[in-house]
């Protein structure tokens, strides 16, 4: 089930957020949407999640017309930047929400839901915290609850909006590696939004660089580093490529 995003446009009032964004991603890819703020990356992610509607353009997932389905039927696990956990529910209830709201005939039995919640809690390394409320957790823990909640519905695609944006640097690094290994285990097509080029290049299989509502270039991190297609891409990736160039240079001088 590969994902094909084709010429998506979206305007807010008179401000164009997306001006024909297109990219393809093979099944199971880990894709970063990278760009400065205002480049349309979050809008694109929200369109994929069904939380925003494209003005024109198509999205095909496998053989399905993805945009024709309402958000609640897409089974796209969406993780919000501020997590959006249900504040009046315990961690367990948050995670089981997507199963609890299913119509009776497709809802798993209570014992099965409980088992799944336990499984997910251990997957995100939060065993024993099921009875807590979101306000009693740290930022990194909330992030993982949000992820477990999205995974509970057995999503067909995982969408992460600035997944590490609200965390401090140390937690961010740990969680980044953990997320990468989780992706390798689950093999879900995952798309995440970030403005941090280092994060995108380190984590993703494919990086799509957005600028002013268009995708400037999509490619593997190595490909982007070595062959930036436009001056914008070269400039935006500049900091980390510069860092990569400087280190060998210093070594050659014997510093």
């Amino acid at each position: 089930m590969s994902l094909i995003v084709d010429a998506i446009t979206k305007r807010f009032d008179r401000f164009p957020a997306l001006k024909g964004a297109s990219f393809d991603a093979p099944e199971g890819a880990f894709v970063a949407l990278l760009g400065p703020s205002g480049s349309g990356k979050t809008t694109l992610l929200r369109i994929l999640g069904g939380l925003e509607f494209a003005d024109t353009g198509r999205v095909t997932f496998g053989t399905e017309d993805w945009l024709a389905k309402p958000a609640r039927e897409r089974r796209a696990g969406f993780v919000f930047q501020q997590y959006a956990l249900f504040r009046h529910m315990t961690v367990e209830k948050n995670i089981s929400f997507g199963l609890d709201v299913r119509p009776r005939k497709s809802r798993p039995p209570r014992a099965e839901i409980k088992r799944r919640v336990e499984e997910l809690l251990s997957l995100v390394q939060l065993e024993g915290l099921g009875r807590r409320y979101p306000s009693q957790l740290s930022g990194g823990q909330r992030q993982r609850v949000a992820l477990a909640r999205a995974l509970a519905i057995e999503p067909r695609m995982l969408l992460l909006d600035e997944p590490f944006g609200a965390l401090d640097a140390k937690v961010r690094k740990d969680l980044r590696h953990w997320l990468r290994s989780l992706h390798e285990r689950l093999g879900l097509t995952t798309i995440f939004v970030t403005h941090d080029q280092e994060e995108a290049l380190e984590l993703a299989d494919l990086v799509a660089v957005l600028n002013e509502g268009c995708i400037e270039q999509i490619g593997t991190p190595q490909n982007l580093r070595e062959h930036p297609a436009t001056p914008f891409v070269a400039d935006f990736l500049g900091q980390s490529t510069l860092a990569a160039d400087i280190i060998p240079l210093r070594r050659s001088r014997g510093e």
Binding site: L51, R72, F80, F86, R87, H88, M89
Partner: protein, 280 residues
């Protein structure tokens, strides 16, 4: 005891507290106490007897009936209005917010007159209503309408800032997890606003039972038929039936005190949960 940098001297604090307590005693507590003592001037039996007069019973019944219709309707409208304002962007939103506040800024007498002008005999719909034998003014429907108008903002006003503060992300999360719009409302939105909703409903109820001005204009003061408790208090007072007037007034005051006590108790009992619903 060491003082913090922002704390005032002992004298300043003592004076401020004394002024506040004195003010409240003079203007709030004493008048309220007078109501109760005047009611009980000739003994409890006399006051109780006054409340049990058929006209008083009918006024109590009418007040409760009006509140029972107006409060649920305003709770529903309040939730709808707050939802629209807080969760959607549309043209004329600030106009809608101003309109919601209108009943607070318009004198209740004017609010009542609006209905007389529309539904009264000389009003726009007067002849049509008369031909179809529908009575609104000087009857219960008019009283209900006037009460709804006056008490409309309470629930909406309480909920709008709360819902704006909470944003729409939790609702979006719920939808993306497969919940329907109605499930999202029942399981996510309603639990998040329940305390604000409860305060709004309590305040709305207190005002619905106590409203005088607007109701007075549309009621027609027909004893035993269209007199609510506040109107009945005035009628009795003008008839020099002081014990009766103050007895019914005491009952009305007691309803308000019960409302406030309920609110305080709930705040105290669920303090932690209320704080949690405002922040993450």
């Amino acid at each position: 005891m060491p003082r913090g940098p922002a704390e005032d001297s002992f004298v300043t604090r003592a004076v401020l507290i004394a002024v506040a307590v004195g003010y409240i005693t003079l203007f709030l507590f004493l008048p309220l106490a007078t109501v109760f003592t005047s009611a009980l001037e000739k003994g409890f039996a006399e006051a109780w007897n006054a409340i049990q007069q058929p006209d008083s019973i009918s006024a109590i019944y009418l007040t409760l009936l009006v509140a029972a219709i107006a409060v649920p309707l305003n709770a529903i409208f309040g939730i709808c209005a707050a939802w629209a304002v807080a969760k959607y962007d549309f043209r004329g939103k600030s106009l809608l917010v101003s309109l919601i506040d209108l009943p607070f800024s318009v004198s209740p007498v004017v609010s009542g007159l609006i209905y007389v002008l529309i539904f009264g005999m000389q009003g726009w719909l007067g002849p049509w209503l008369r031909d179809h034998d529908i009575k609104i003014i000087f009857a219960i429907p008019g009283i209900v309408l006037a009460t709804i108008f006056v008490t409309f903002p309470f629930v909406a006003r309480e909920l709008i800032p709360l819902m704006q503060d909470q944003g729409r992300e939790e609702e979006e999360a719920s939808l993306s997890l497969g919940a329907s719009g109605f499930q999202t409302f029942l399981r996510v939105t309603l639990p998040n606003i329940k305390w604000g909703l409860l305060y709004g409903v309590l305040l709305c109820n207190a005002r619905a039972m106590g409203e005088f001005g607007a109701v007075s204009v549309v009621s027609g003061h027909i004893r035993g038929l269209t007199n609510t408790m506040p109107l009945h208090v005035e009628v009795l007072y003008n008839d020099y039936q002081y014990v009766g007037a103050f007895a019914v007034a005491s009952l009305l005051a007691m309803l308000a005190i019960v409302t406030l006590t309920l609110k305080t108790l709930l705040e105290w009992r669920f303090a932690g949960e209320i704080a949690a619903s405002h922040r993450h």
